[in-house]
């Protein structure tokens, strides 16, 4: 897999966020796709609607190249304060946040600058 450092930053930051809520179980799954990668993170924490909405908003922040390149490198390495999903949001192409039977699932699609959603396994019903 390419961009190991980039992935490690994202994995650490999203793990930091999930672990803040002290789950009993956390599953991280990373898949190579035709035009990038799909990262799925699941835990057994049932979050309220407001939190899910806030998570989705932060992860789907509008493109901020000036912040992503400079401050994005902090992702996963600034573990003293609270985790910040917007740092992840600036660096990915799309995110879905939803409930599963046991808790919460976060899907992140990390693509190249030539991002084409049809190349990813993004649910078509959305």
């Amino acid at each position: 897999m390419k961009n190991k450092e980039y992935l490690l930053h994202l994995l650490a930051e999203i793990s930091n966020y999930i672990l803040d809520s002290e789950p009993h179980r956390m599953v991280i799954s990373l898949h190579q796709e035709p035009d990038g990668m799909h990262l799925a993170v699941m835990d057994d924490n049932k979050r309220p609607d407001e939190e899910l909405e806030a998570m989705s908003k932060a992860l789907n922040s509008s493109a901020r190249p000036e912040l992503a390149e400079y401050y994005g490198s902090m992702g996963g390495s600034d573990l003293l304060g609270t985790a910040r999903l917007n740092i992840i949001g600036w660096q990915i192409k799309r995110a879905d946040v939803g409930r599963i039977a046991e808790g919460t699932k976060i899907d992140l699609w990390l693509g190249s600058d030539r991002f084409d959603s049809s190349n990813f396994s993004i649910p078509k019903d959305e």
Binding site: R64, P65, E66, Y70, S73, L79, G81
Partner: protein
């Protein structure tokens, strides 16, 4: 361009217009133009108050030109005019009253641009580093005009040195960020200070004198005294009108944020509340300085404008007051004058550590402000005043110290 951006562009153009108007009132067209030209060929290291060197009119004209250049770069690169870019523009205008000029800033921007080409990144990805990186402008001016050699060759050498510094800056800036984990808002100040240590060593090795001198306007004109309060009122009214009835709720939400980098209040809260916050901090800062009888000159206005700028990108009342109290306590405890240049500037710029108070509470903030004053009074000499954001340098060191200690305590507690 988003709808609110047009509004913010208008506000900043009005600010630049006020600078131009005050320049004309202070020294007229010819006087201001002459002062402006004088500044381009003058030393820029800390602390050279341009309201003395190039007259108030020249300094204000220089700041207006730099503000236009900053907005031009933001627009050309296609980056949103939001918290970080407003902070950069006001900071650049402020520091153009004591160190930055178009001549010494543009080579740094060129260097960052070349670095972006090498990294195959669009310039907009490196824009913030280019804008804030102009803090190293004194390096260009020093080699060109202060090295004691002179001539066109030295001007070219100064420009080349500035471009090299700008080229290295992005790599350093990202590494420095991880040292303090975003708890020092002026990260480029730390970066430029770090680079300045090496640059000053090379210059001293070449037997150049990089000792610190202070040119300080102790009799500022009325235009300078009125400038920030007037701009602050403008920001307050503009922000209040923009947000309308939501202002109170938005400000309350803002005060809950720690302010750790990157906290774009314009995006996360609202543009109106961020502008109101900028005006409020500018007004409170001005009132305090007037109350203690400080000189409202170029560097002090620079400090106030930087506080205002970063009030859209991390600073607010709850996370800044502990730093100010810490600086005042250290000033009084060590028998310094509250109106001396060091403590006055330290009080304004210590708010670079606002995220520490925002995240860990007022006691940590007061302690950080206390330490900051002691460090900042020494640190300018280390880099020979080549880094205009000396408080960012000292703040970065202070933040790194506190972050390391807090991390250690946290680790022990978690065991």
């Amino acid at each position: 361009m988003l709808a609110y951006e047009k509004n913010v562009y208008r506000l900043l153009f009005i600010c630049i217009g006020v600078f131009l108007l005050f320049a004309l009132l202070a020294d007229g067209i010819a006087g201001s133009a002459h002062g402006f030209l004088t500044l381009q060929l003058h030393a820029a290291r800390l602390i050279n108050d341009y309201t003395v060197v190039g007259s108030s009119g020249g300094a204000l004209l220089n700041a207006a030109v730099m503000g236009l250049l900053s907005l031009g770069l933001i627009k050309l690169s296609g980056v949103r005019l939001s918290g970080p870019t407003v902070a950069a523009t006001l900071t650049i205008m402020g520091f153009s009253l004591f160190g930055k000029t178009p001549l010494n800033a543009l080579p740094i921007v060129l260097g960052v641009f070349l670095a972006s080409r090498l990294a195959h990144k669009p310039f907009r990805s490196y824009l913030l580093m280019a804008l804030f990186g102009t803090a190293l402008g004194p390096l260009v001016s020093f080699i060109a005009f202060e090295s004691g050699i002179g001539g066109l060759g030295m001007i070219i050498l100064g420009i080349v040195a500035g471009a090299i510094a700008g080229f290295i800056l992005p790599a350093l800036a990202m590494a420095m960020l991880r040292m303090h984990e975003g708890f020092n808002l002026y990260n480029i100040g730390l970066t430029c200070g770090f680079f300045g240590l090496f640059a000053a060593s090379v210059l001293e090795g070449a037997r150049r004198d990089v000792s610190i001198t202070i040119i300080w306007n102790s009799e500022p004109r009325l235009e300078l005294i009125l400038l920030v309060p007037l701009l602050s009122l403008l920001f307050i009214i503009w922000g209040a009108v923009s947000d309308g009835r939501k202002l109170g709720k938005n400000l309350k939400a803002m005060l809950k944020l720690s302010g750790r980098l990157p906290s774009d209040f314009m995006e996360s809260i609202s543009p109106g509340s961020a502008l109101f916050n900028a005006g409020a901090l500018g007004l409170v800062g001005s009132a305090y300085l007037m109350l203690i009888g400080a000189d409202i000159n170029g560097p002090v206005i620079g400090g106030l404008l930087t506080v205002m700028g970063f009030a859209t990108f991390g600073k607010h009342a709850r996370n800044t007051w502990p730093l100010a109290v810490g600086v005042i306590l250290a000033t009084l405890l060590f028998g310094k004058s509250l109106t001396a240049p060091g403590p006055v500037l330290a009080l304004l710029f210590a708010t670079t550590l606002a995220p520490l108070a925002g995240e860990f509470g007022p006691l940590v903030g007061i302690a950080a402000g206390f330490v900051h004053l002691l460090v900042v009074e020494r640190s300018a000499a280390w880099h020979g005043g080549l880094d205009l954001y000396n408080n960012g340098f000292a703040g970065g060191l202070t933040a790194t110290l506190f972050v390391a200690l807090i991390q250690w305590v946290k680790a022990i507690k978690n065991q």
